[in-house]
Symmetry: C2
Subunit: 225 residues, 2 copies
């Protein structure tokens, strides 16, 4: 195992390289980022990078799989929080899913992983197993808990999952695609979309066209705002 670096004055070179590389990868893509650019951004020589990572691929894998657990931690905490009623827990979970996939570095890696998935299949596998699936499992757990308590009605699970995560992932991709638009934030007002998205999903969970059956323990189930 690698020891955690020399750590002179609280400064880990490996950490710095991963951070700078992540920034560059997100900005220019995998093939569009050269090791020389990265070395310059780190204030060192290219050869020195190869003391910390054997290849560019290995460096990318380190970037892409860095911080899975921290990114998802918030969602896990929300599921475990006993002070929330089911509706509010779901709202906060949606909130967290937006942050995880749109704000966090590893969430924004998705388009990059698509770019390299043919040449580095392992990173796609890890991303799926340790990032996407964990989110799905946590979210399904929150829904199952609500169903068990009678707050929610069971939706068609596959379609519903995709209606939870799909809009978030596509928003993340669109933000990458349209970063050069000066008005992207007004074009896609993320906060408002997120709120409406959560309320629409809740409406489905509350049993849509069959009317309200078994809605005990609904809590303050009305619309926010």
């Amino acid at each position: 195992m690698l020891q955690p670096d020399h750590e002179l004055d609280g400064f880990s070179r490996r950490r710095q390289i991963i951070d700078e590389a992540t920034t560059l990868f997100l900005q220019r893509g995998y093939a569009g980022t050269s090791m020389s650019q990265l070395a310059k951004a780190c204030g060192m020589q290219k050869a020195s990078l190869y003391h910390h990572f054997p290849t560019k691929e290995a460096l990318f894998v380190a970037c892409a799989t860095d911080g899975f657990d921290e990114a998802i931690a918030e969602l896990a905490a929300i599921r475990a929080d006993p002070t929330l009623d089911d509706d509010e827990r779901f709202r906060r979970a949606i909130h967290a899913v937006y942050r995880i996939n749109i704000d966090s570095a590893c969430g924004r890696m998705a388009p990059l992983i698509a770019e390299v998935s043919r040449t580095i299949p392992a990173v796609a596998r890890a991303f799926h197993d340790e990032f996407i699936m964990h989110q799905h499992v946590l979210m399904n757990g929150i829904i199952d808990d609500g169903i068990a308590r009678g707050s929610f009605q069971a939706p068609e699970r596959l379609g519903f999952e995709h209606m939870i995560f799909g809009p978030v992932v596509s928003l993340s991709l669109e933000r990458e695609m349209f970063t050069t638009f000066d008005k992207f934030d007004t074009l896609r007002p993320i906060e408002r979309i997120r709120t409406e998205h959560a309320e629409l999903l809740l409406r489905l969970l509350h049993g849509a066209d069959g009317g309200a059956r078994g809605t005990a323990g609904r809590g303050r189930a009305g619309r926010a705002r």
Copy 2:
């Protein structure tokens, strides 16, 4: 103006180059595709490519903006079809949106455009204005028609739009990311997801938690299957 090529025995070199390039770009990404590889795939010399396209960027723009209209034509036809009732029209529109964004070449371009959006902003702009927006407009038109006829209730429009297109776009991205998985089709059974997705959306359009108000002319509004 460029005349439409010499067209000897019904074979357009420009067309061939665009088709081969699109295939390669989708397989290996923009930076990952070299003009030499493309020349070999076309059975010609690299220099000859530059008789048809001035730069690699111009070639990519030609690929990315090729076939917008054909891809969207189906959706436009569905909106204009007078023989459909509103529910069935919506179902077929969702179907078409899946085909447009997942099967057609220009729909699958989205991750690529994200890759090059910084270096070729024009292509992101064109993709947004002439592909994404046209789909949104058509889809909103179908919903508005249904509302005007009393078949649908107006949903929160922004959130609803994202619940229509988000899952499709994310499915397209996931298919790119996980092409190396041998079992992707069972992992994400597209047909079943699409059907459940459409039915859940229809449930929202039929006025979910407020109960059914103003549902005249609903037609056969029940669930398919």
